[in-house]
Amino acid sequence: MLNLILKRIGIAIPVLLTVVTLTFLMVHSAPGGPFDEEKAVTPEVLAKLNAKYNLDQPLIIQYFDYLKGVVQGDFGPSFRYPGRSVTELISIGLPITFELAFYSILFALAVGIFAGILGALRPNTPLDYIPMSTAMIGICVPSIILGPSLTLVFGIWLEWLPVSGWGDMPGDKLLPTLTLGTAYAAYCARLTRGGMLEVLNQDFIRTARAKGLSESRVVIVHALRGGLTPVIAFLGPAMAGLLAGSFVVETIFGIPGLGRFYVEAAFNRDYTMILGSSIFFSFLIILFNLISDLVAAALNPKLRE
């Protein structure tokens, strides 16, 4: 296990470094300086701005300075929001994005695991194929369609739920959660069904049943542990998808989270903000992948080789 942890961290570190280096180089190779769009800046002011943002140094020095900052959690100042640091903006947006991702994954796990177990226990009956075909719909209808459609039906036509906001009105967290969570609920259902079907056919389940254990005990205590391994391994990539999905969902519903900040920064060409949040997002995604790999390995000894 320790070996595996070290090996995975051994991969994660070069990945992180590659990400930081690539993003840094990409942002710095962008055509035009960051202050080109400012109204007629005099050369002296430009020089001062460049000095303020450390842009007058050779690239390699800037790179190491930036790296030193990143290690200490300092992503530098934002170009577009003067007086605010990128770290500050991230710390404002992150809790909201996390809350949204947390509700979505909770919804996905609750619905997905339940539907998956149901399907695995009664394979090839309506209890199996009705949830599974619904899951196919959930996978194929992307958030850019699901979000506006849900808003149109429940927000505008039926007027049951608020169409935007986060924590301003009761119920305004429901549509974003559904929009973001549905696809993952569908994946969870399919993975749970697959994993459970495999486990339920194994000898130790037959033994457990032969011992006279109740069906619910067999399923919950014995089968679920192995059957959920694919779901747990999926949580890491799912987290990456959820963060990317938050770009869309936060834009649709006007949620002031990190995803919307990121998209806005991309629009405003706020290069330091793009650079900082790209690195931060990548760090999160790599971290979640690492954790879900390790948890999956802890649950299933076969994965430890």
């Binding site: 991969i11 994660a12 070069p14 990945v15 590659t18 990400v19 690539l22 993003t23 990409m26 942002v27 190779s29 962008a30 055509p31 196919m136 719909i137 996978i139 194929c140 209808v141 992307p142 850019i144 369609i145 979000g147 506006p148 459609s149 808003t151 149109l152 505008i156 990456a240 990317a244 770009f247 869309v248 834009t251 649709i252 990121y262 998209v263 991309a266 629009f267 060409r269 793009i274 790209s278 997002f281 990548s282 995604i285 790599i286 992948n289």
Partner: protein, 282 residues
């Protein structure tokens, strides 16, 4: 039923007997033909504005209505499908090309070359590419060619892994050893024996990659970081539709249906192909 001993005609029979895959094949063929013929059969010009008319619902003149600038929605959807499908298929081809060659060379060489090449794949795999694609679009402008390349360069990793494992198991088999013994060159073995035999899973994965890429394009266009007006793509149309849906629902609904059905079709065909090419799965 007719007895056939050809893998491909067998697979085709199985694919067509699956109702979902059959539906997918029919719908996709319809969409692709429509997209190819668009310049000849589109009822209007895609950028033609009719500001006097403005947004209008479905009618005889404009089957699917018009948008806020009075542009015909059906025409814009047809032109949009060309871009969405083109991004999907071209980027998949790029991914296929890089992935198959990388995977074959790694799997066939073995040893240190293999370890090195797959370690590179491992590292790249860990990089969240959606972030990079967005960065690329922000920094180098919303260039379609760049979009293909970026997405294609992202999607080859899984392909390389699949091909490598196929090649590794294939290259231990007798017919490859026989070819080696007969003095067939390395490239002859790779292109003549290994790739043709590894093609099944590759086709399945490629079919499932196309919708993913179309989704990525739509996602970027929806955020305003992909295709730019007056061009259109399904993602862009859905974005416009979402902005004005309160008054003009058709602008959201029709592109959404067309796009969802295409994603369904490709996924059904992919799933169907997987079952059809691997009878053991059932």
């Amino acid at each position: 039923m007719e007895v056939s001993n050809n893998l491909w005609s067998d697979a085709l029979d199985r694919l067509i007997s699956n109702k979902f895959s059959l539906f997918g094949l029919i719908y996709l063929t319809f969409i692709v033909v429509l997209a190819l013929l668009t310049p000849f059969i589109a009822p209007y010009d895609y950028a033609l504005q009719d500001l006097d008319l403005g947004p209008s619902g479905p009618s005889w003149e404009h089957w699917l209505g018009t948008d806020i600038l009075g542009r015909d929605l059906l025409t814009r959807m047809m032109y949009g499908s060309r871009i969405s499908l083109m991004v999907g298929f071209l980027a998949t081809t790029v991914a296929l090309f890089i992935g198959v060659i990388w995977g074959t060379v790694a799997g066939f060489s073995g040893g240190k070359v293999d370890t090195g090449m797959m370690r590179i794949v491992d590292v790249l795999y860990g990089i969240p590419f959606i972030i990079f694609v967005i960065l690329l679009m922000v920094i180098f402008g919303r260039n379609l060619v760049l979009l293909f390349m970026a997405i294609g360069a992202v999607e080859w990793l899984t392909m390389a892994r699949i091909v490598r494992s196929q090649v590794m198991s294939l290259s231990k088999q007798e017919f490859v050893m026989a070819a080696e013994a007969m003095g067939v060159s390395k490239s002859g073995i790779i292109f003549g024996h290994l790739i043709p035999n590894a093609i099944g899973p590759v086709i399945v994965y490629a079919t499932l990659t196309v919708p993913q890429i179309m989704l990525l394009e739509a996602f970027l266009s929806f955020l305003g970081l992909g295709v730019q007006a007056p061009l259109s793509s399904w993602g862009l149309l859905i974005r416009d539709g979402a902005i004005t849906m309160e008054e003009y629902w058709w602008l959201l609904i029709f592109p959404s249906i067309a796009f969802s059905l295409t994603l369904f079709s490709l996924n059904f065909i992919g799933d169907g192909l997987r079952d059809a090419l691997d009878p053991r799965a059932n």
